[in-house]
Subunit: 337 residues, 4 copies
Amino acid sequence: MILILKPGVKRQDLDRLVEELHQMNFRTHLSEGENTTIVGLIGDTSRLDVNEMRANALVADVKRVSEPFKLANRKFKGSDTVIEAGGCRIGGGHFAVIAGPCSVESAEQIELVAKSVKSSGANLLRGGAFKPRTSPYAFQGLEGEGIRLLEIAKRQTGLPIVTEIMDITDLPYFENVDIIQAGARNMQNFRLLKKLGQQDKPVLLKRGLSSTIEELLMSAEYIMSEGNQNVILCERGIRTFETSTRNTLDISAVPVLKNLTHLPVIVDPSHAAGSSHLVPALAKASVAAGADGLMIEVHNNPPKALSDGAQSLTLEEFESLMGSLKEYISLEGKEIG
Amino acid sequence: MILILKPGVKRQDLDRLVEELHQMNFRTHLSEGENTTIVGLIGDTSRLDVNEMRANALVADVKRVSEPFKLANRKFKGSDTVIEAGGCRIGGGHFAVIAGPCSVESAEQIELVAKSVKSSGANLLRGGAFKPRTSPYAFQGLEGEGIRLLEIAKRQTGLPIVTEIMDITDLPYFENVDIIQAGARNMQNFRLLKKLGQQDKPVLLKRGLSSTIEELLMSAEYIMSEGNQNVILCERGIRTFETSTRNTLDISAVPVLKNLTHLPVIVDPSHAAGSSHLVPALAKASVAAGADGLMIEVHNNPPKALSDGAQSLTLEEFESLMGSLKEYISLEGKEIG
Amino acid sequence: MILILKPGVKRQDLDRLVEELHQMNFRTHLSEGENTTIVGLIGDTSRLDVNEMRANALVADVKRVSEPFKLANRKFKGSDTVIEAGGCRIGGGHFAVIAGPCSVESAEQIELVAKSVKSSGANLLRGGAFKPRTSPYAFQGLEGEGIRLLEIAKRQTGLPIVTEIMDITDLPYFENVDIIQAGARNMQNFRLLKKLGQQDKPVLLKRGLSSTIEELLMSAEYIMSEGNQNVILCERGIRTFETSTRNTLDISAVPVLKNLTHLPVIVDPSHAAGSSHLVPALAKASVAAGADGLMIEVHNNPPKALSDGAQSLTLEEFESLMGSLKEYISLEGKEIG
Amino acid sequence: MILILKPGVKRQDLDRLVEELHQMNFRTHLSEGENTTIVGLIGDTSRLDVNEMRANALVADVKRVSEPFKLANRKFKGSDTVIEAGGCRIGGGHFAVIAGPCSVESAEQIELVAKSVKSSGANLLRGGAFKPRTSPYAFQGLEGEGIRLLEIAKRQTGLPIVTEIMDITDLPYFENVDIIQAGARNMQNFRLLKKLGQQDKPVLLKRGLSSTIEELLMSAEYIMSEGNQNVILCERGIRTFETSTRNTLDISAVPVLKNLTHLPVIVDPSHAAGSSHLVPALAKASVAAGADGLMIEVHNNPPKALSDGAQSLTLEEFESLMGSLKEYISLEGKEIG
């Protein structure tokens, strides 16, 4: 971390600042330029907040020179993390295709979709039971019953299941869930993250709509620092001024994350696009950009879906998409599962 | 709600769509233009999600014509809501000045700050006990002990207290808290909002960094629809491309919200700016824009603050600011408390 | 266009509004709901500004139901436009690879780069002669001399050339240029666009950093409405809150534009990323998303580049990238040139 | 400027880098930390682009420690610049109220509005003659004739006039204009800025919709470095995800700019808001935030305005607003003119 001092700092004030930094167990390095004096902090600055150091009256600005995340940092673990869930592997060349409806709506629906996406080539099943909805008047999910239906579909197809948790008190419902999803709106629900770090199921952590890539990694760090190293990161679109898509898929996040971290990185093109006709292009682009997996919404009858129908592929559209995706996955030297 | 149909829809498909809408208890109104047929939905569309209707194969686009919030809507309650908390009133001409440190750090600190901000003219005391921090390695607050220290400061000064809740299981700690804050990161933690709606203390709901004004009102609706009508809305800056401030204070949110809702609207210029030297200008601007209150971070020794020191005013700076603020509040025809 | 009226509009006021609209040569269609009356405008609304209609005291809101662009609209020309430039074709299955340095710096540099990118498979040469730089103190380009050097490189390699115009008075320099680029900062320099519409060389129109997709198409419409139908659209990243890349590549713009318009759509991953190590992933993703071409910065010695070195590939990196790109282009059923 | 080197740089590579920097006329200062070596550059770095230095293979990141603007920098000229135009002064306690219609539409209209805003207290007249419109099919302004009508209104009222230039070839029309406006879309039309720097009328430079505060100052620097020091900066809203206002007024830009530069800073609340009912709150907030002036759209009949009617105040609304504004201006210790 570098402290850029205000112009005209007096010698005695500078000495006092340096003394304080030493008491905080940092070594320091002074660089005195024509207009600017810079103090370099040497030591573990990950617990320091940039905003705290800016409060000092001598300090004009503060710059980090090393990343504030450690356990997720590729510098400290060079090889790709491979996550195992219900017999599937994700990362390190293993590509995950997670497909299914936005919401679990009935036994018939989830079984029909599960069988179909499996035969098209998906290797994990998604389905929402606890649904975070913008409006309190909208369908809120089948909750515990929804997870029970997912379990039946899992037994029938063998597909491991991925579903979202909204509150840690619901954890008992997730006993047979293979991957627990922490949704975009909960990416900085730090209490939930800590609790998910204290159990051992893999966590699929979605990026918040306005969260930076660094903040996503810091949220992964919350989970990992409690003991659970099995975190899958998911880019799902960020909020920008553009209104022709529901969100703006930040495709660059894929190669940026792959450089910064050893954790697997997947993409949810459905929530990013908000319109099913855009999903195939974005799914292919995600593979080409280096993603380790995809999470795609598929519904047997999108116009009748209880949530997010506009962005759901039909069973036939998904089957057709899988045909092309396999070629792209193979071109990238990866394989499903 | 208006459904804009795709060009060339066949008569029989249109009839089927209209029939379905009637089954959903809407009346419909058809408008057939040169290139475009439009279906107007008449009835309660607040439970309908725009994205669901867009899933219909006949529908090109969907537009809302009425707001999806009801209880918070000024159309259905014209007069300003006035909220009472620990002897203070907020809204309807009553201006709230909520001041105090980002984090409660010690008995001495919170007492010193509380007494000082009271004598400068603040009428509520803020202080963080449960702290949401981006990094798991940063100071996480004194938690329950922090609230105990706030209670002591309240007894000593008579100032009602405002502090943030991060998890509903902590609610027992908030027994003597006067206003419970739901933080920006939890603005769409819907479970927490519902629980806050099931108790009767006023809730100060902060706008998420990337939440629209409509989403803020829908989150207020989550609380209100469970029974608690005492919601105070707080603008605290949104995330944009500009990096010279921590966030971009959306000052327009004040008059926009005052038009849309009867709930009180306050502003937190400290979190928006991220730098204490910008706080006075933004605080004055907030009053002039029509806010019903301010929430300002004040610390006895900002460079030593355990969080957010850079944006905290000193006791003297706050006293000086209050001098000018009083003139602005008076010019707006409001009074503190 | 739909006018949503304020609640409680009187009959006589409504009649007067309708009369005015008829005088503006629109037919109207009234839809009276429970709380809301809606007036549909039938006729050519492309010359109407949404903001003008919102000024009417009776009107609460205005929604467009048809796109405001015509000549660029795929609805009115279903087949892909194929643009010819110096023997190359772009669009309709013909893929363009435009490569070269950010700035033309010397005869040796541009010749060296031109020969190398040609042998790697590029079919057009880019190079900046007139450079828009944020700082007046930065290198501003070789200007007319830069174009002369590009012409030499063109003669030596046969590659058609693409370079940016900053001011229409420079047009005489562009006599031997094959495609004239209108840069992101000039996307709404409407005078320049009109003048480019009055000449017949193809125009490569880059999206502004904060321009919507609709605005990009309206700017294309400025060129086309003056007579020049040869417009190539270029996505090059938009401005968001994310700072780990120079801009955020809006990959979704590719399929969105391909749906809305018949014009070719290319991507500039170099300016979007700002870092050369991200370019290969983004280039492949752009092909997979359906782009009709790529514009990539390549330099013989990036650390010595006079501009944008950080995002320039070396000659070797570009050659290697072309190896993989060809497979992706082929998978999409397209061919270079 | 600080270069943060990649880990594990070899001594000889470091020596070569330092040697190169010395040849570029910088002195250097090395700081070697545990994981990171930092090179501080001492000398004039304003001509250096951060992106150029990042291209160096040894460099992980580059941070500026001093602002890249000089002539606009308050560090080099502490006292407020006061600009004189047609008998008015702007800056240094002199507050400018620039009012008038979006577009000049007829002799009657501009005269009526000019007389009315003058009697309400405005001290400069605005009116658009050359209009940048998103659509080529929309009204493009009366052009030269519009300026002639402004000149008549100026003779009748004595109000100095402010109007926008879109292309430098129109400069002859501006002979009797008092302040030339460079619009938001032309904030980075660097050729236009340079030409405006070569003449001596004051320039009102509007911030681009997605331009940072630093970029605005760099654009001012383009004008100033050519010789014209009379630049007025204008905040007019930036583009964000929020859709309830046309743009998001970045009110913080006022105090941030007042700290960074000695140039006057004004605000255009009309373009920011997009709705006239929001203008009074934003105008008052701008004064309270420390602005040196306001630019407000006023029209004699907003629903019939040829552009931007929705955001125009009526003559009566403006008169009423001026009543309150005068109290706020006085509270800030400033006076109009």
